[in-house]
Amino acid sequence: MIRRVLVANRGEIAVRVIHACQALGCETVLAASEADIDSLAARMADRTVCIGPPASALSYLRVDALLAAATGTGCDALHPGYGFLSESETLAAACAREAVVFIGPTPEQIRRMGNKLQARALAREAGVPMLPGSEKVADATEAARIAEGIGYPVLLKAAAGGGGRGMKVVGSAGEMPQQFAAASAEARNAFDDDTLYLERYIANARHVEVQVLGDAHGALVHLGERDCSLQRRHQKVVEESPAPALPETTRHALRRSAVALARELAYCNAGTVEFIVDGDSGDYFFLEMNTRIQVEHPVTELVCGIDLVQEQLRVAAGERLRYGQDEVLLRGHAIECRINAEVPAEGFRPSPGRITVWQPPSGPNIRLDTHCHEGYVVPIHYDSMIAKLIVYGHDREEALLRMRSTLARFRIEGIGTTLPFLRHAMAHPDFAAGRVNTALVARMIEEMKAGAPLAA
């Protein structure tokens, strides 16, 4: 078993990983930047070491600093959390060289899923449905020619991509030169790689993803799916499990496809296979696979009763999964709202600063994953997520009701938060009816700005 874990992350996920370690009796060493040296996670960890200045490029993104912290404090494993270096083949390989267990998949698996074109090839081999699209496109002329075959509108995407960067919708052949240039510039800036490819653009698109979990001995299960269609600028805002209003045939096919792809890789550890679902036809297509724990993992934990982070540690230590697919029971419904330090009324501008009032709601079937507390100063250096509020109910209606009343009771002062937007979103009739797609949040924001009362 793993004895001592370097927690190579910050914020709520550092707290979450420490909780999992504590439950398994592992010691924890937190690798913290100067800005996080007095954080909640630092107080919870058995030891904290300062790995660098606040800028992530000089701390959380430094493989050498993390390995020095791990080996210098006698850690036998490293948990990368999400973001930062969680999907870095370099970090996973460096851990292997230093005999530190990387709590995640193998460097090889990270690499094969990291490049989106390679991942598409692998998915095709596994028989997973693919969006009509292209391989690498060289220039705007070639892109326009291929787009004629696929049919407009099309989506230009970065091969190295993620997070919506290097992604552009092209409505017609006339827009292609300009959008191609914009997408490749964005991709070059974000990923230092301007390789683009094309996909058919789906107007009524839903984002549905399947959680998988594999061990090093070939066992692999799925833990159901999550709907993450509520997104603002390609950033998830609300997630839930199971996906609402999804035809049962689609649901089962999605899960089967995810398992088939993970098997093709002999995937070990927790991973997520993302799909785009055409809300009109019910067709689904492979998007990408994330080789890490995800922000929204708690909704899965609540419906399957499995602690995913603890499972990550167990399988990384070489343990076998203690259950087969038949023993994974999914019941009830869970919803998660991400609370960010942003001001919705001012274009969601970031709002760092001191939290003067922090009164979270509590009660049965309410879970709050956070690193914040009264007096905490939300630093300017990192992303704006300050908490994840997750509720559970025996069905979606009950969960939604609980989420509304829980959001209503949450008081945060001193900084701006997205709570007002989340309250609006959770009261929206389209969300209540399960009529979700990736354009819904933009519409909700417009309606909130206009001050239009929500229809019942």
Binding site: R47, I51, A65, L67, A68, A69, T73, G74
Partner: protein, 176 residues
């Protein structure tokens, strides 16, 4: 260089942590404890302990006299009385007028260019801004740390071949 080769077990570190908490909650100023070979002195800040070692300023490199945290060389999680969250908290209190040389990165501290060689600097050594005072190594990359100022080395605050954190005090210099 004479740190006794008796690494504390995690259980011992936890016990010491509990003792510190107990002391903090009590009205006592200091506590001396002998557990077999292990001798621990725990004191409140600013308390002078009768018969205890004076803070190390002249002998270098040496282990600081039992501060409230276990020795920094111990790789075990060692969180005690909030001190572990402050890099360099284990260094003795500075004299007024001294300037710190801090570690530019997390890594292993080496006082000499290679095993068996003389240290780059010892107490009393004159330094210029570009004098190398030590190496900090991470992943086999050795980074030379310059003094950054002219003066004389007054204290060596880190132990050879141990982990130093970003911002941790390595030396104190009396400016020229």
């Amino acid at each position: 260089m004479s740190k006794p080769e008796v690494p504390l077990t995690d259980a011992e570190v936890r016990r010491i942590g509990r003792i510190i908490e107990t002391l903090e909650a009590s009205s006592f100023d200091y506590l001396q404890l002998e557990l077999g070979d292990l001798r621990v002195t725990i004191a409140r800040e600013g308390v002078v302990i009768p018969g205890a070692l004076a803070p190390v300023t002249a002998t270098a490199p040496a282990t600081p006299p039992a501060p409230a945290t276990p020795a920094p060389t111990d790789p075990a999680p060692a969180r005690a009385a909030g001190a572990a969250t402050t890099p360099g908290a284990t260094a003795p209190a500075p004299e007024p007028g001294l300037v710190d040389i801090v570690s530019p990165m997390i890594g292993r501290f080496y006082s000499q260019p290679e095993p068996g060689a003389a240290p780059y600097v010892t107490v009393g050594a004159p330094v210029e801004a570009d004098t190398t005072v030590c190496l900090v190594e991470a992943m086999k990359m050795f980074n030379a740390v310059p003094a950054g100022m002219a003066g004389t080395i007054a204290q060596v605050c880190a132990q050879d071949a141990t982990l130093v954190e970003y911002g941790q005090v390595l030396f104190r210099v009396r400016p020229a």
